[in-house]
Subunit: 242 residues, 4 copies
């Protein structure tokens, strides 16, 4: 069976500018994520970044991508609108999209959701506990009842996104908040998964449970083969006599 | 109790240019819809059109609107992007939005859905039969198991919109197609209802069942009072000790 | 407008046997709930209990009930199966059902959900904070971003119920758990709302936010008038020529 | 990789008593379905029937079943309640359940849905056209925009089931009805798919599109491995200090 082609996209600025982040992720968060995914024989993950040509998201690249993973934080505005439109086009045609952490406020996620995607937040490195709230979902494979991250940024409700088709994880924060942390959507023929954790100053993407979630999500978000096409908006003839 | 303030927005071009449409709707489709709604003591419906100042959708007007009804067809591109952004802002804050027929391809509906909103279609004036597929929904109040429109434009699947929170109507067309015709969504604090029928050359908005649906939809889409605000995207302090 | 007829059903055993509970609710929890609801001019709430004739749920009573509220805990098994079937019949025909706290394990709730409705729990009187996770929902009317109960029993995930049509509240517990606390479902023509708080030893039903939720839920769960009937399972003739 | 263990359960009475049915399915519908599934290298399908010992659904058999397919029609009442409870237990623990056609009125499907599962019907051998209404869903893999069955029993709305998590197919019938024909649910850790076609007097299960749907559904409904367990309903200790 052909491998799933995953593109791990990273803004890749914090790792260059902030020594604290560089220490945690010397080659970038995308590099750690891709290496973790590539341990799976069924996955081939490669890298792309904001400062690549066309953000590393050319037609050629997207045509050969099954699932796109998106991490971004400070430079959402620098992503060109025509590239965002292009990514949306591929998602609607079936490419999976996994949006991580601060990617909640990216142009592409807000475009796919139709909402503000605003939330409350706090950088205090407090404890986060993720509860599995849909254990029968493929993204929950191999995970215990809950798992913890010792230090994470807090994200709190209300999170302005549509009611999800599945709520795989719900987070508890020591400071008193809850958050819907693992959310599934279908848009066009594409599947979208939003996953909350992953602040740049914490070693979240080295965590084995987090890596398990990402691997599961990639497999879940893979495109369905040879299914009915999205209509092209042209007039059709009657099938039956009218 | 204060009346629900409904704004019926119409592109209002076909009625001026096409004699066939003018004959059916001499004062515009929005006028017929507003008159039908105004028979209800709890509703006060007014009119707005594309060619009004700021499309009739100024901050002042939207601030005083509970539910916005949207009919458009040929001039989607003429609606200014900043006005679309403004309407979205009010929907997310709680204003109801009812999108009619060819409004499926309006900028505002596509923005709120995050998908292409494409479908197949046929202008053949064939019979449409709308089946109630969620009789316990408030929008189905007072309606029989199914009702018919003798002559309508056909819309067929696949309709590229997200899976709805409720599927109130499903249409049967004589030519062989089906269509998800009455769809409910929540976006931010706003409720959105898409309702399929309403081609400009047919007297659809005079139909008593159609008018009943619109009246029900307005009441369902009314804003909820004094509820929790959408966060403003600022950092928050811990509630508990961390 | 006719008042909504609400029947507040209570097992009504703890209040008689446990002095601690009796002190908090001398006339029963149902009495406190009904009194709170009756402050609303649009509602007329009455009482029923397990030990009434036919559990106070005769055909005559249910025929005249718009919304049934259900609190139960220790005596689920004593509720007769034929009465449970009867309640289900009325819910499917449109009667609203609001299930409170330990009612999660009642025969009627498990029957309507199709799942085990199991959860984890802890009686430690810890702090519960309910976050509004769908502020645009009618059940969130008049409520702040979150509200607290100083002492409550803890319920934790995984809660074995179907993915809800709306998730109005999500709870944070001091001991480290989260819980989906306000859940909406449609079954047949009936609306069902599950609301978590309400342990018998705490004065939860005197809380003004809790009372606001119950009032909102009653209005949301009210039956839709004169809508399409549930089919009777008989063969039908073709509408069109076949 | 280990093969998916599928058990095709059939009432298996019509094929013995009705010569018309026997002619179409001499060894039973389950035999035709299992043979079609067994062409896939990843599936091992076996048979069970109502008249087998414990209906062929012993603890030993269910423990070794990944996905159960259920066809039944005239003898729903003969299925013992304790066996229905047993099947539910396995579904909640993760076993997939695919309910076919008249299985809509089986004890197990009604138990899992919580509704009457009633619909309207007509045995007239008319044309059915199934439209794909969620082309991005795994169950739509390899299927065209629509496909037809020349002769089928008609099922019409309102179909009294909960709003599905995904609506994969919607049927058009020549006689004028529509029907939600491919419905996905999660109950506990188990996935449930209801698929409409399959009247015993028509050769529906020989159809290559129908066989494709069943193969897709089996793969979609397969249990998720090693995920969080359903709680056992016992009290838990606090994770954090309270």
């Amino acid at each position: 069976m052909a491998k799933l082609r995953v593109l791990v996209w990273n803004e890749f600025r914090h790792e260059k500018k902030n020594p604290k982040v560089k220490k945690v992720y010397p080659k970038g968060m995308h590099d750690v994520i891709a290496k973790a995914l590539n341990k799976d024989k069924g996955i081939k993950a490669t890298l792309a970044a904001l400062d690549d040509f066309e953000h590393g998201l050319t037609e050629e690249v997207l045509k050969n991508t099954d699932v796109l993973i998106w991490w971004a934080h400070g430079a959402h505005k620098e992503v060109k609108d025509e590239i965002v439109d292009r990514v949306q086009k591929y998602v609607l045609q079936g490419m999976g999209l996994i949006v991580l952490h601060s990617g909640h406020f990216s142009k592409i996620f807000r475009k796919m959701m139709g909402t503000s995607c605003i939330l409350t937040w706090r950088e205090a490195g407090e404890k986060e506990r993720l509860w599995v709230t849909q254990p029968g979902h493929p993204i929950a494979e191999g995970l215990p009842e809950y798992f913890e991250l010792k230090h994470e940024e807090m994200y709190g409700e209300f999170f302005d996104v549509p009611h999800p088709e599945a709520l795989v994880f719900t987070s508890w924060f020591k400071g008193g908040e809850v958050f819907r942390s693992g959310l599934c959507y279908t848009r066009g023929k594409g599947k979208i998964f939003y996953f909350r954790p992953g602040h740049e100053t914490h070693p979240t993407y080295y965590d084995k449970n987090i890596q398990q979630v990402l691997k599961n999500a990639v497999k879940w978000a893979a495109p369905v083969k040879n299914s009915a096409k999205i209509p092209e908006g042209v007039s059709v003839k009657p099938i039956e006599k009218i």
